[in-house]
Symmetry: C3
Subunit: 436 residues, 3 copies
Amino acid sequence: MLMDLFDRLFPINRSITGDGVRESLSILGEIVPISQKEYPSGTECFDWTVPKEWNVRSAFVKDGQGRTLIDFKENNLHLMGYSTPFQGYVSREELMEHLYTRPDLPDAIPYVMSYYKENWGFCVEHSRLAEFKDEWYEVVIDSELKDGHMTIGEGFIQGSSGREILLSTYVCHPSMAINELSGPLVQTMVYRYLQQREGDLKYSYRFLYVPETIGSLLYLSQHGDELKRNVAAGYVVTCVGHGEAFTYKKSKQANTLADKAAMHVLKQSGKLHKVVDWNPFGSDERQYCSQAFKLPMGSLMRTMYGEYPEYHTSLDNRSLISEEVLEETVQMYIDLIETLEANETYECTHIHGEPKLDKRGLYPYTGGTRTKAQQRQISAITNLLAFSDGSHDLMDIAEKLNVMGKDLREAALLLEQHGLLRNVSSARYDLLTQMG
Amino acid sequence: MLMDLFDRLFPINRSITGDGVRESLSILGEIVPISQKEYPSGTECFDWTVPKEWNVRSAFVKDGQGRTLIDFKENNLHLMGYSTPFQGYVSREELMEHLYTRPDLPDAIPYVMSYYKENWGFCVEHSRLAEFKDEWYEVVIDSELKDGHMTIGEGFIQGSSGREILLSTYVCHPSMAINELSGPLVQTMVYRYLQQREGDLKYSYRFLYVPETIGSLLYLSQHGDELKRNVAAGYVVTCVGHGEAFTYKKSKQANTLADKAAMHVLKQSGKLHKVVDWNPFGSDERQYCSQAFKLPMGSLMRTMYGEYPEYHTSLDNRSLISEEVLEETVQMYIDLIETLEANETYECTHIHGEPKLDKRGLYPYTGGTRTKAQQRQISAITNLLAFSDGSHDLMDIAEKLNVMGKDLREAALLLEQHGLLRNVSSARYDLLTQMG
Amino acid sequence: MLMDLFDRLFPINRSITGDGVRESLSILGEIVPISQKEYPSGTECFDWTVPKEWNVRSAFVKDGQGRTLIDFKENNLHLMGYSTPFQGYVSREELMEHLYTRPDLPDAIPYVMSYYKENWGFCVEHSRLAEFKDEWYEVVIDSELKDGHMTIGEGFIQGSSGREILLSTYVCHPSMAINELSGPLVQTMVYRYLQQREGDLKYSYRFLYVPETIGSLLYLSQHGDELKRNVAAGYVVTCVGHGEAFTYKKSKQANTLADKAAMHVLKQSGKLHKVVDWNPFGSDERQYCSQAFKLPMGSLMRTMYGEYPEYHTSLDNRSLISEEVLEETVQMYIDLIETLEANETYECTHIHGEPKLDKRGLYPYTGGTRTKAQQRQISAITNLLAFSDGSHDLMDIAEKLNVMGKDLREAALLLEQHGLLRNVSSARYDLLTQMG
């Protein structure tokens, strides 16, 4: 299903506004409910303003003999994003001022845009420049740049507590795979999984599909205070379709619940991964983590933006993406969410030495004769009793045992039933959130 | 002497109660004064209760031809600990339900016990199961399980301060060497050394010989508040007879005086060692470090429980233990205690630059002409003066010089005589203890 | 120029007092203004007292045949520092009591002194002891030891703030290169550079040329409180003429502005270096960092005292020193000072996400088309905006970008002009200083 969706979404001409965004969200909306909200051009969001809406019907460049040298139909990256309408004959010299190439990647069409200054341009493979030998060219850009709307997609699942987990991805790049479609695809699959658990969730879950940068700023300008109040942890879902290793980019605060859970789950998964510090080259964590909001949000990726040569070119396409990688990433997000859902902090009610476990059926009466499974269960039980002091949560104790936090859930519930553990998460929880 | 004692103690049938414990403590009591205190069956200690007292006269299994297949006289590990009295003929099938082996160690008799659920059983080498071919067997267990007492051994040496060092070992396993006798033997030798220094000690010293787990819980239930008030540092003495390297298991709080001193002395000894975190698989530090008491106690061991394959079997015997290893461990405990005894915190009385040392005879008048011994003395003196600011004790300063804390004692006393250092330990001491 | 100065200064007989100090300071005073202050013998400085002044006219030892075996004229190290006047015939045995050699370095004349106990002595190559075969020797020491003065050299450049940077070196050893002249030479070149920037400096700069130990104590006894109030950072300039790698010895407090800046500049320079902890074997940082003053002073060196075999002998001479090394060290001190001068702490005024940079001309309008220089500028700008929160200074942010703090100065000033950063150094500054 993932690659079918991919193939439907890939050819659509997305930008930070326009019908391509709406169409993409509608296709994803066949899988999970995504509401589309429209914000008119001119809407102010902090230091920024929603620009005019842009749509394209066609665009091409022909040479003196009428041969089509560049055609938007073949690859929407050929047209610079937000190119203004244009029709006319231009000299070779003038055309060259509007032509972008990547000499370092001669077979790639670069991805170029000019959202906030009116201009037009074409992008082409550097290796094809030799074809532009004529003196005059016909240029047609049948685009529309006028007051309209910016579109934001949003999904929501209600949990039992007032706290929420925020996943955010972006929908604004034309035909690119890793640095565009991998994010919405993975986020939508995680959303679908959580829908199946609806009614059984501690946290609420919010899923944002925004044009990068201005979209998250726009959402923050409308709902920032609400997010600041409610978000317990969040992740920007981007660049999740390529590469053997995972990459976790920490939140700016670097010690939030989001960071703790992601690093714990990656470590206990045993999978290859690296952790990088927050920095202002990136995606929407730049806005979510800004000083006014300081949301506890990191970004769980695979090979990240800027670390693969095909980034921001036509070479970032289907040949890079792998269904296995997408699915493994979905599973990692699910493990992460399940660990967050399972994570509680307990206090042991029996503090004078160890409680007697055999008389409660929690320990074999005969010493020296345990199976491996019994040994694992005993290890979980004794460590939960020893370290549950109101300041270690399940993830902390799981780290000592080298297992994933969610794997201690069952033993913890058993001890709670026996009155040996008392759940004190709510107090602890507030603390962790304030740290974030 | 150590191996003579070993040979007298090894054959005795010890358990958590019974005459074997009393006899073992009496033999050690020939070396140092050990008082034996008796607590009746049924005494409550927190979540636990002192069980009935168990003693054994004889126990055997014979086959159909009257051949003795298992005999308690040959090795007391053959009888499961706390086996109830039994006499009768049993089928092969029924016998097998009461027979314990270790398939992974076919030549070992496993150590099995059932203190808190009445049952009987025999333990035998897995390789000998083939001998049990007959249909019927005569089983005789001439044991006694009835109201009696649990015995705890205790020694005490008075020091000049109100603070004490606690050493605790266990006496409750039948014929095993590392995971039983090495502990009482080493503790008794350390106790004997300190007896010779009686009258010259800063700390008091308490030596406990308890049945593991329930014995320390019993002692804590009677004297826990007192220990909590007085113990400055303590160590559980176990598994100290085997292996090239030392193992130090930290206290649960991990930053107590006990931990600081043990890690300092091990490091400065230059001997192979490793340090492991506290965890709830272990010996009586599980109880001493529990939340209600948080005693500053670690465990200074050699190869530890669970890390040698012979653990809890008849293969943990005289062939594993080494007199050299026992004696080296005694010496390490003595170095540790001497460092604790020597450890003081000073304040330099001269804070405006360096004091003039030559005019006090503490430095050679002629520059550039020092012997190695002078250099060492000067190094001790200048570092003590530079770093004695009321927050660094002798161990801290010794770490900077890469020597053992006790090696700075002499220079510190000299500077104190000259009025250049002032002992401010009492204030500092209280602080460290509270940390513990 | 450096080696010309070296050649003029090398032969002069310096000690902790005497005309050699005055002559040396006068020669350096040809380059930069150095005032000479005189303190009479008997002046008390804490636990110490300024000794008598010592000057030497000539000194030699002749054997029975009248052959001159040792002559002060040939190398002033031959005479023990502070040798009292003496004239007479002494037996071989008596001479030997006054003769110092270094058996481990047989071709070196050792450096020996006896400032605070009246005595006389000669120092000679161990390999030449065989020449002392006669029974009687003529010894002449035409020296003068009488009430006089100790001389301290001082320079000062006024900056715009009330805070100062202190550089201190020593002038008290006779003919040695690394462990004497390298310090005054480098300090004087740095002083000369700062003179050229006079009027444009944030900090004031103080340059001390003192006899080691007693000189810094003397200065502290006169001006210690003033230094304690004003010094923001300082460095002892010694052993700066030899060796490939830099050595930074931290201040005793270990986390001062002096330490932060030196370690930052060394790291970002990419040059080989090591960092060592403060310890009481060293130079005047022993006094400056003492408890009463705790000046934030480290020592930026090359191969340091005690780490090269020629230390404190006649082998520490011109053959060890290198003009390139001296000049590279001067440059490192200049980089360090420029980073201190440039270092400010800012707060970003726009905290709701990122400000829009293109509309202010701080960012290219067309995405995906940046030059390397633009990329560097954008990186500086975005990181300054992201991390300027009143608790990260330019050095902190530069560390994230792996550049030197002074390299962010320009971008910071640009953002301040645009009103996007607000300088909050003064508050932060006081804090850092208190830490020191």
